[in-house]
Amino acid sequence: MLQEESDLALIIAQIVQKLKGSTLYAQLERQAWASLQRPEIKLESLKEDIKEFFKISGWEKKLQNAVYSELNVFPLPSHPAAPPEHLKEPLVYMRKAQVLINLRNPNYENGDSHSFRTHLGLIQVPLKVKDIPELKEFFVELGLTAGQLGIDDSTQVPPELFENEHVRIGQKVLSEQDSAAAQQYIRQGSPTALRAELWALILNTSSQPEDILYYEQLKTNVIQHDLLVDSLIYKDVKLTASNDDYYFVFEDYLYQVLLCFSRDTSVLGHFAYNSASPPKSYIRGKLGLEEYAVFYPPNGVIPFHGFSMYVAPLCFLYHEPSKLYQIFREMYVRFFFRLHSISSHPSGIVSLCLLFETLLQTYLPQLFYHLREIGAQPLRISFKWMVRAFSGYLATDQLLLLWDRILGYNSLEILAVLAAAVFAFRAVNLMEVTSLAAAEAVLADLSTLKVMPLLQIFLFATVT
């Protein structure tokens, strides 16, 4: 009991510490001072009255959302004496691996020659991943008895059965402005018209004048200074989004958002819990001297081929550039960074790969062995899907339904489950192929897939 209490106290202390530096804190302070003018605030019961005022005016809700947001993002508190590297990544060998990875293309597969258990896949790292019973529990809202958007809103189903009510609840959640409720709600999918607002609520972004000003400043930086990574961004957009049936329209927005992103030093904050570290560059002649080190690019993130595909789907939701930017940045520092840094985190790419391979080997052993025999290790095909969070592979409406669940469960594990579900779906065709190229061909076009039925069948309707 005592341990739990002291853990809780530690968590509270850390969150308070984090929030003290935020805009919200300043706003609350201002509001508290201003409220002194109000008649209902009495000196004798100052504390209670102000608390009551915060409750009524919705500020308490904003504080709740901020705390909830922090809980989502920050890892569990560790021993107070633990060095900061532990917060980034507790496993030593992972930290070592990450240093090496920093120098290489993130499209890299970790393959050791040691084997553990009888794992036949490419990932030979003893990380804990969930099995199907655990996944069923984790993703309980996706079960067969609950309604889902992506299934129960199809044209054959009368809207009165689920959709109408779900939309109504969604509108209520939005009017309450409750982050936690929104996150719970969105596990069953978001109605198209409410999605933009719901994501903003869950990610706890605000649209204060300061935020818009900050974005304008980033844009000014873009105009004033060129960065070498700008060329990487241009190349990436031209090679990926510009050729995409869905996203080519937003080419200009993608440039805008990514060029600003590269210059946004606030992104450096996420390296506190990211196993990776931002690359450093030294002023000429001062190599090794910390006082002359700068992070390069300013946000510490070097874009790679396909990076713009993290932003592209968001363009369907936000047509205002500063809002689009905020949402993307938040999505990146919460989720996407894990897809290209080596860590032991359950949502990190290594765990996702392992989860995928384990699911496949355990529940579709024949398929797995067959593909391995013909030299088509399944991960070789599914890796690119997971690294891009399926962006550019699924139809946009399906992708958004998938990302709804990423936000709802605050986890990327669903990417691995979907990858396995896709293999399960195409198993019959895959059993007949005799080469890696043929396997790739069977799985080349995912644009007609319906994500939610696939996931449901794989998790809840397969005999385990």
Binding site: T155, A193, N243, V249
Partner: protein
């Protein structure tokens, strides 16, 4: 066993020919006995002209109505719509209701248009009311964006101000006749780009009016970011969405061809603007198409040997109001991308399934009421017979408060009825 359908065409396009061949139809020449002729607009003129025309037999079908130009020539379309509106006004129909400033509430879907040189003076009067506006000059008889230019000064169209009194449109040489319309300089932009909508509409008969909307329409985007600035008025890439023009732009992409499906548009609008306004927009689009067909129905030669597949061009402005720009009698069957080829192939396929039932030798006396199963990607846009009859035996689910009056007949959104918010 009925014989095989004998077909002729003077348009050498694979999407057509592949469709004929897959049905096992037999190619013949124009001079032989043919059952099905997919003809260009020049040929239809000959078939139905006074001098060179000939009677079609009961087992012969063609893909144009004799006087389709009532709808597909820019000046005649406007003339017919104006006439239709005046008629409705005269009979006191609620459709012709106007607002305080004299604008039609439900029938204002064509930008202000004048014929040149005939209406030159009327145009000048209108131009002077808002001298900073931009107008678009379009030659009446051309397509693919040819000969179009923008003006914002009267001096730019000096040559049409010559006093030339002509009595009718028929005596005017088509080379000289232009229409001038108020340019929509506040188009809805997506990703900063201007786009227009191309929708396919199949008409099997005008009286009673029976028309179908192809569900897979698409948006055509400009490759360059839109700017209303006057310095860019000459840059056709910014303003004209015709693929024929965009194809020559530097940024033209051959993978997607600058095209978006209508479903993408719907997803984008619902996500950024909300469901109600998006549904209202699509309802309005269906409405204006039906109204344009009703406008020309009285003057159209409803020859029973004919059907027609039109290409409707629609622009949406930033207030989410759709505008009918023009109707094409011969929508392009050229494919600019792989997706395009598939779309046009399926379009022709579904069109043939409706126009030539069962792929058998046609009998033009049939009732032109195909069963639901053959519609393919088409959905009923408007069926005058059904709308005027008792609507109760239709299997459409209607929501409470929905009126099934003479304006009924709605387009179904992928199988499900969409509440039309038509008043």
């Amino acid at each position: 066993m009925a014989g095989k359908v004998k077909w002729v065409t003077d348009i050498e396009k694979s999407v057509l020919i592949n469709n004929f061949e897959k049905r096992g139809w037999v190619q013949v020449t124009e001079n032989e006995d043919w059952n099905f002729y997919w003809m260009s607009v020049q040929t239809i003129r000959n078939v139905f002209s006074v001098e060179t025309g000939y009677r079609l037999a009961d087992d012969q079908i063609v893909n144009h109505f004799p006087n389709h130009y009532e709808l597909t020539r820019k000046d005649l379309m406007v003339k017919n719509i104006k006439r239709y509106r005046k008629e409705l006004e005269k009979e006191g129909s609620p459709l012709a209701e106007k607002d305080e400033s004299g604008k039609y509430l439900y029938l204002d879907f064509v930008p202000i248009t004048y014929m040149l040189p005939a209406d030159y003076n009327l145009f000048v009067e209108e131009f002077r009311k808002s001298p900073s506006s931009t107008w678009i000059m379009k030659p009446c008889g051309k397509a693919q964006g040819k000969g179009i230019f923008l003006i914002n000064k009267l001096s730019q169209i000096k040559k049409w101000s010559r006093d030339s009194k002509t009595s009718s449109f028929m005596t005017q040489s088509t080379k000289e006749a232009y229409v001038i319309s108020l340019y929509i300089n506040n188009p809805l932009l997506i990703g900063g780009r201007k786009f227009d909508l191309r929708l396919y509409v199949l008409v099997s008969t005008y009286r009673p009016l029976r028309c179908y909307m192809y569900k897979l329409g698409f948006c055509r985007f400009c490759t360059v970011k839109y700017t209303p600035s006057t310095s860019e008025l000459d840059n056709m890439f910014v303003h004209l969405t015709n693929v024929a023009i965009q194809k020559h732009g530097e940024d033209y992409n051959h993978i997607h061809g600058g095209k978006w499906t209508v479903n993408n548009l719907r997803l984008y609008l619902e996500s950024t603007r909300g469901k109600e306004v998006t549904s209202k927009l699509f309802d309005e689009i269906h409405w204006i198409i039906v109204q344009s067909l009703k406008a020309v129905a009285p003057v159209m030669n409803n020859d029973k040997h004919c059907f027609e597949c039109y290409g409707y061009d629609i622009i949406i402005d930033d207030k989410l109001k759709p505008w009918l720009i023009e109707v094409n009698a011969s929508p392009s069957l050229t494919s600019s991308t792989a997706n395009d080829r598939i779309l046009k192939y399926n379009l022709i396929n579904d069109t043939l399934n409706i126009a030539v039932p069962n792929g058998e030798i046609p009998d033009c006396k049939w009732n032109k009421s195909p069963p639901k199963e053959v519609l393919g990607n088409y959905e009923i846009l408007y069926d005058e017979e059904l709308a005027q009859g008792d609507g109760a035996d239709r299997e459409l689910r209607s929501r409470p408060g929905q009126s099934l009056g003479p304006r009924g007949g709605r387009s179904r959104d992928s199988g499900r009825t969409v509440l039309t918010t038509w008043k």
